[in-house]
Point group: C2
Chain length 273, copies 2
């Protein structure tokens, strides 16, 4: 239950991060089934607060009710941005560079590891622990979002919650642009590569389809690139340029490792199928 609370809070913190805001107040609404105990509820709140504490977020209210179905957890997180200053999805311009923070695909690899019926050993305990940790205790990139916003680096931003292929589509649609994505540049962790190799999976697929990494995807004017990259190094932020914004008619195309271009399928998570 603590992991569920942590993940629910991280997803909300990440939404604030993607707008360059400062998270401040949390409201938690719970519907608790008959099998729910006091201990479950305490663990849930403990997990939520563990995610929120580093950001000094205060729990200011919410609601609890009985559920005749399963558990329901609805969090509302209130964040602040300076007046008339927030990052949106609709500001990407042709020629902008597309960046992503950290590494992607780890969370999906962690989920797959948790769902393997029996523990298979062709992966080191360290890699296994890293990937499961990335799934159960994701880090919202709040400091990066604030830095992008206050320095005016990003023209658009979103967090990767449903998967790179789908969230990238949101930026393109709302900015009315296309994109050329360089698959060879996608930042993959050693653990993710090792996991993919051990299960004969394509790590690129994990990176494109895996949601819940909660990394930030954002666009930057080419003139800003030197300032951005220098400033990021100074702060210890990990950023990777993974593509370039193109005209709308170009669509969403991926450049493969072999130098071939193809249209990118939308393989991200859909809530209603």
């Amino acid at each position: 239950m603590a992991d569920i609370g942590f993940r629910a809070a991280a997803a909300n913190l990440s939404d604030i991060a993607a707008m360059g805001g400062t998270p401040q107040y949390l409201l938690a609404a719970l519907a608790i089934p008959h099998i729910g105990t006091r201990q479950h509820v305490l663990q849930l709140y403990r997990g939520m607060m563990a995610a929120c504490r580093p950001h000094h977020v205060r729990l200011i209210g919410g609601d609890t009710s009985a559920s005749c179905g399963g558990w329901f957890i609805s969090l509302t997180l209130i964040g602040m941005v300076p007046p008339r200053k927030a990052l949106f999805r609709n500001g990407a311009r042709i020629g902008d560079c597309l960046y992503v923070t950290g590494t992607i695909g780890d969370s999906l690899a962690g989920l797959k590891l948790l769902n393997e019926p029996t523990r298979r050993t062709a992966l080191s305990a360290k890699h296994r622990q890293f990937l499961i940790g990335r799934h159960l205790r994701p880090t919202a990139r709040v400091a990066v979002g604030q830095w992008l916003n206050t320095h005016g680096f990003a023209t658009s931003a979103i967090d990767i919650s449903d998967g790179l292929s789908g969230d990238l589509r949101h930026i393109c649609e709302e900015s009315h642009v296309g994109v050329e994505l360089d698959l060879g540049a996608l930042p993959l962790s050693k653990a993710c590569r090792a996991y993919a190799a051990s299960r004969t999976l394509d790590p690129m697929n994990l990176a494109l389809t895996g949601g819940e990494d909660y990394e930030l995807l954002f666009t930057v004017s080419p003139h800003q690139r030197p300032r951005l990259e220098q400033s990021a190094v100074g702060r210890g932020f990990s950023l990777t340029c993974i593509g370039e914004i193109r005209p709308y008619r170009f669509g969403i195309q991926a450049l493969s490792l072999q130098g071939k271009r193809h249209r990118l399928a939308n393989t991200s998570y859909t809530h209603f199928t």
Copy 2:
């Protein structure tokens, strides 16, 4: 579904009303089961917005996800109060008069009417319609709450959502006071009296135990009473004095129609039993 949306929004508006605030922004989180249709969701939002529109509340966000259980609706309503000015439950003082707005017990009577297996006719269509309307489309007393707050009339306030006997207890506990409740003074509508008479129920019980009337319960210093009542008449607000705040050791006592005192049982709705 429209009635469910309306009731969910009214419950939130009423919480803001009880603090003397101005409701402003609504966030709606829905979990939609497999059987839920687009039409259901539209109706739900229509009901919500019908309750919010008179108060110029804007829907600014929320979330939708799939539910493997039933429907789950969680609303967050953001309201504003002037700096350092809000009504709380903890300000009642010994000697204060206890007031309630409108009439109470109607919503429970409406619910009982809806749950009657076959329609019994010993009640006029007008009364029936009034009581069911009070249950399905309750009015949050936003204007009354703002008026109590801005004029500094109320020392404490709460809305009746779980039932008079329980919500009164919240004021007493948080203000560390007792109360003498005058049962003969409880404001009952003609329709509620007619319903109780036709079903040989005690209307007082409907008023004490019935939740979801969303009327305001508040306390006023005796010196303020003349100003309060004069101002209320001018604005067309319906208020009734139903008791007096006593010392904590007095407890919560009710004065019956026959002039007898007894301790009031807590018969309000409990979410977890």
